[in-house]
Amino acid sequence: MAKARPIPGLSAELSYSEAAVRTIEVRSAELFEHAAGVLDVGKIEAVHAMRVATRRLRAVLEFYEPCLDREQLRPVLGQVCDLADALGQRRDPDVEILALTQFAAGATDSERPGIERFIERTREQQQQANTELEAILAQIEQDGLRERLAGLIEPPAAEPETVAEPAAGPIGDPAAVQPDDPEQPARGGWLRRR
């Protein structure tokens, strides 16, 4: 199983919103890196790696949910969950077939036919799960999941310039927020657009 890639610059004092951006970016990239070869039932580790990457991505989307636009997140998270389920449905028979094959290898001649029959049934399940996984992967491609994940953490487009209202307080009043004050936290909570 691939180790989770470290998140650059992640620290305890980093703002939750900024941590969301950095983490989701890395975990999204990991998901698509593991997509190659998942439909090949002869290479069961590919499914496992993508499943783990999907779980990790799902976990961070749920963990950082308060920082994200709920309307944007809901369909993306739904699709990541569907993908996780489809990968799980494929992974379960993969593992089972492997274990049953090992079990059959240690069985007597009289025991082997029954075990083989059960393996056959499990293979049918694997094929069905693979068909469902193929459909989900096509759907993800069609719906642009990768782009929508990027959209979740994209800074909002710059607002058109407007005539500035006079500051409410006297100049130098810390309560009067200056729009382009470099001392002001630029992105704290900007991910929320609820």
Partner: protein, 194 residues
């Protein structure tokens, strides 16, 4: 099982402070399954505990190293061990009924064939029962059923041993302490010692 809502999350706050709140809730969720899961028949609760362990594990995977005291990483490994073991128990809980259902279906086919052979006879000729469909499968299916049942019992015993060990090592209290620590506290403490 739906994840419990975490209160007082602040997207503008630090990653560590928010992660502390999330870990605390996920930790409580995990412990809420005890003592119910110490009953080997609590199949649904064991599965739900596995989900709770998974949620805690992934939050810790994202945050333990960067946000908390050193014990958080140790706890993360323990929770992962617990989740993996509960996963194996769950696999048996899925596989065993599937196997029994298949065996029962094959048995019904054999019974139907025997009834067909008996026709309108007033008693059943024993020779008619030989060579029934699937008769070659029973030995293997019975061996597999025994294997899964005994393996499940062994895995459950290992789960209770691991849980007892987790309780003895006061994982909950130590993790609660660790999530209130910040890595900088540790660094300052080391500097003060020197």
């Amino acid at each position: 099982m739906k994840a419990r809502k975490v209160k007082h999350i602040d997207p503008d706050g630090t990653l560590a402070d928010n992660a502390q709140r999330v870990v605390q809730v996920r930790l409580d969720e995990l412990y809420d399954f005890v003592p119910a899961v110490l009953d080997p028949k609590a199949v649904k609760k064991l599965h739900a505990m596995r989900i709770a362990a998974k949620r805690l594990r992934y939050v810790l995977e994202v945050t333990a190293k960067d946000c908390f005291g050193p014990y958080a990483l140790t706890a993360s490994k323990r929770v992962r061990e617990l989740q993996d073991l509960l996963g194996e128990v769950h696999d048996c809980d899925i596989q065993l009924p599937r196997l029994q259902k298949m065996a029962s279906g094959l048995s019904a086919e054999a019974t139907a064939e025997l009834s067909r052979r008996a026709g309108e006879a007033v008693d059943l000729d024993p020779t008619l029962a030989s060579g029934l469909p699937h008769s070659e499968d029973w030995a293997g299916l019975a061996a597999l059923e025994q294997y899964l049942a005994v393996r499940r019992a062994l895995l459950f015993r290992r789960f209770t041993d691991i849980w007892q060990d987790i309780e003895r090592s006061a994982m909950r209290a130590r993790l609660e302490y660790a999530i209130a620590e910040r890595p900088a506290d540790g660094a300052q403490a080391v500097a003060a010692d020197q």
